[in-house]
């Protein structure tokens, strides 16, 4: 394995990333990372993959190392919160490898560094960060994109690293790109021929958002959990009490990993350290139609009420 890493350094997720694999969507940087640095290297992992104890056929864990295999793409090893090793399969699609490096690998690495990765998008509204979470298809990226059109910069798309400082959660910027489904592009009147599909034949597109990106960590002042239900009106309710723990657990990026790498106690303690200071809401929308504008007005209304409450307390 190479001991010195050749290549450029990029900035994403609060990390200084030295990578042997080109990561063109990330900005280059000369500064150290807020959370630390990571090396992404190419290496032959065949023997290590054979030897590592398996938790599932495609996931292995041993001490400070997590390994996983994506057939026809690569074997990945994430070690000690500072090294990602990639062993590409013959003829693998580099775009696909990159999606894994910037997604699953970074999520696992952040947890190794004791940073909470939330699954969702974070945006700046009125100078504070708000997270949009929800299962796939709930409408996160459409709403995020609509909010960006209304002048609210993006902090992170898909994986939001959350750090806790003095009992307050902070959202750390990802990188200036949004992933949008064809349907979201249609709703938002965007032309997909201008954007690159994330993989061959995929209907999810990479949209660069350099001019609408907030590159500094910002206090996370609220979380909205999106869901779609048939014929449901657009509505918003606060999430209260212990259900808030469940919400954060549920929307932790790759939450299955939390148990498998033995960090559940850390994870729960981390949530407990700030959950009392993070307002949460459940936002429901009808399955059919484009309701981002109505959702946005409910969000803004909730934030206004929250401000009034804070001023009075």
């Amino acid at each position: 394995m190479a001991s010195t890493v050749q290549g450029l350094a990029y900035k994403a997720f609060g990390l200084h990333i030295h990578s042997e694999f080109p990561l063109p969507e990330l900005p280059l940087t000369g500064e150290p990372g807020l959370i630390g640095s990571v090396s992404v290297i190419q290496g032959d992992l065949k023997e290590r993959w054979e030897a590592i104890p398996k938790i599932t056929p495609s996931l292995g864990v041993s001490g400070h190392e997590v390994m996983f295999e994506s057939k026809d793409t690569a074997i990945f090893a994430i070690q000690d919160g500072n090294t990602i090793t990639v062993s590409p399969a013959p003829g693998a699609d580099p775009d696909c490898i990159r999606l894994f490096i910037l997604g699953s690998c970074m999520g696992i690495l952040l947890m190794q560094k004791q940073i909470l990765p939330l699954h969702g998008s974070a945006l700046v509204i009125d100078g504070k960060a708000y997270a949009l979470v929800g299962r796939s298809g709930a409408g996160k990226s459409t709403l995020a994109s609509y909010l960006m059109d209304q002048g609210n910069p993006l902090i992170s798309d898909d994986v939001i690293p959350v750090m806790v400082h003095n009992g307050y959660p902070f959202a750390v910027p990802g990188y200036p790109q949004q992933k949008l489904w064809q349907q979201s592009l249609d709703y938002l009147g965007m032309n997909s021929s201008l954007y690159r599909p994330l993989f061959e034949r995929e209907t999810k597109f990479a949209v660069p958002v350099h001019d609408r990106f907030h590159g500094e960590p910002l206090q996370l002042a609220g979380l909205f959990e999106l869901s779609a239900a048939p014929e449901a009106p657009v509505s918003l309710q606060p999430i209260q009490g212990m259900e808030r723990f469940h919400t954060l657990y549920h929307h932790t990026y790759q939450r299955a990993i939390v148990d498998r790498i033995g960090i559940r106690e850390w994870h729960f303690g981390m949530l407990a350290s700030f959950v009392g200071r993070l307002p949460m809401y459940r936002l429901t929308r009808p399955e059919q139609g484009f309701s981002a504008p109505q959702q946005t007005s409910l969000i803004l209304e909730a934030l206004q009420q929250q401000q009034v409450k804070e001023m009075n307390s």
Binding site: G241, M242, H246, R264, E265, F268, G269, A272, S273, G276
Partner: protein, 101 residues
């Protein structure tokens, strides 16, 4: 809720935490996750003290003493509150009875 708390628990009952729970502090309150059923609990401040007292087998009477000393409450109130809380821990299977007099 069990209405016969007094019949089930006595001051000499020995109780202990069940395993498989992760507890943490949340602004002075003890919160807990039961790994088996995936439920989250807020034990509160007093409940947190009671939970901590059950780390190793202890009589209900000793728990009442600890709560009286810590929160300076009259014995009767401490006894009522501790018994009610211990019963809910038993109901939720978060604690178990080691021995009964």
């Amino acid at each position: 809720m069990n209405m016969n708390t007094a019949d089930v628990l006595s001051l000499e009952s020995v109780l202990v935490q069940r395993e498989g729970n992760i507890a943490s502090n949340m602004d002075g309150e003890k919160v807990m996750l039961n790994v088996k059923n995936g439920k989250y609990y807020n034990l509160g401040e007093v409940g947190g003290e009671i939970w901590t007292a059950l780390a190793s087998p202890v009589t209900a009477g000793r728990v009442v003493e600890i709560i009286r000393e810590t929160f300076e409450v009259p014995e009767e109130i401490a006894r009522q509150d501790v018994f009610a809380f211990l019963q809910s821990l038993l109901d939720e299977d978060l604690a178990g009875i080691v021995s009964q007099p």
